[in-house]
Symmetry: C2
Subunit: 222 residues, 2 copies
């Protein structure tokens, strides 16, 4: 590996180890030395990438919104739905995303600023709502900031409830129900009637993204 690739690989290894330790112990009880042992890298390498426990936690927190962007949709409300549903799907299937979401809800993480992921997600949702508004997809009384905050907050709780009740098994169903309760206050009826926020949407998008990635790889090789 060339030097830069090795650095990316090491950073990744450390973040995975940090995610595992934070998820098992919570922020407060986690120690750098356990993350070091789990990662199997040198102390120097770890401190080079992350000078403190807080830096490690911010790294993990940041991973949860580093998703493959949804391919653009003609209907922006559908693009919003797909963004939300893909996040739920990744939460079920990607331990790094899970660790990030859990950290952002770790109320014992004193001294760790956990507002970042909430703010970033709210911004992502708000931007999509603004685009939807520009296309006439939203009801006139919608305030994108308020709707974004309500959706991001509600999502965080529905995933926590699904985790507490059945370890995420029913997450996609619960998110589908949540959308069914919120979208009628947001989208105009004609949009509402044409979008898909069914339970199976997560699987559909994930397949779409995998196909796209495979095509890109083929194109790069060919």
């Amino acid at each position: 590996m060339v030097r830069q690739e090795r650095a990316v690989h090491t950073r990744r290894t450390i973040l995975s180890a940090a995610a595992k330790v934070f998820e098992g112990r919570g922020y407060q009880a986690a120690t750098i030395s356990e993350i070091l042992t789990t990662a199997g890298v040198t102390k120097g390498a770890l401190y080079f990438h992350f000078p403190s426990k807080e830096h490690l936690a911010q790294g993990v927190l940041h991973e949860q919104d580093q998703w493959l962007p949804i391919p653009e949709r003609a209907c922006k409300v559908q693009e919003l739905i797909d963004t939300v549903v893909l996040h739920a799907y990744r939460l079920q299937t990607d331990s790094m995303v899970r660790a990030g979401v859990r950290l952002s809800l770790d109320q014992q993480a004193h001294g760790l600023d956990r507002s970042g992921p909430f703010a970033r997600w709210a911004e992502i949702v708000r931007d999509l709502l603004e685009k939807a508004r520009a296309q006439g997809e939203l009801l006139p009384n919608v305030v994108p900031d308020e709707t974004a905050d309500a959706m991001v907050g509600a999502f965080a709780g529905v995933q926590a409830m699904s985790q507490a009740v059945c370890d995420y098994q029913d997450l996609l169903r619960r998110i589908s129900h949540l959308l069914r309760h919120i979208l009628p206050s947001v989208a105009v009826p004609s949009v509402l009637a044409s979008v898909d926020f069914s339970e199976s949407r997560g699987e559909t998008i994930s397949t779409e993204l995998r196909t796209l990635m495979a095509e890109e790889r083929t194109a790069a090789v060919g």
Copy 2:
């Protein structure tokens, strides 16, 4: 104090201490010995009331739904709103309620069944929805179980977001916005137009309840 009163008082003292320690440390790192020191009771007294750390945590978890019931309202959707809003108000003002809600979202609390509060709250909401339906207050497509789950999950997340962003200062506003996004999918328009879910509702109900309690005390003395 007679023996029974003393026991109630001791139990209360222990639960307050447990709430404080769980809130500061999280479930996993909390120890019975720290709870013992904080409570200032004998080991015998503590184990008499709560034989294990899990019993202590369940005691704290249970406190969050032991609220003064809302006085019955003619409109059941209003009774539901008031129940939700009062919970938010108590979350802002009562450290025991706050500790219970935080414990139920403590994803590092391995071995602690945290589904209880979610299930109990969902039941409370569902019962009120059933009553609202019987009075013709709900839209025909509402499934009370699903709406109750969506509302309880969404509430949990909105409070967590408010805590992470500004330590609960904007909680009542956020809950008011959440209700504005969900209720139009639940209540018929004529009900929607007549209910109050404004930001100031929490304060109104709390004043109402304090007045009721004062009247009851006066009646008991007189």
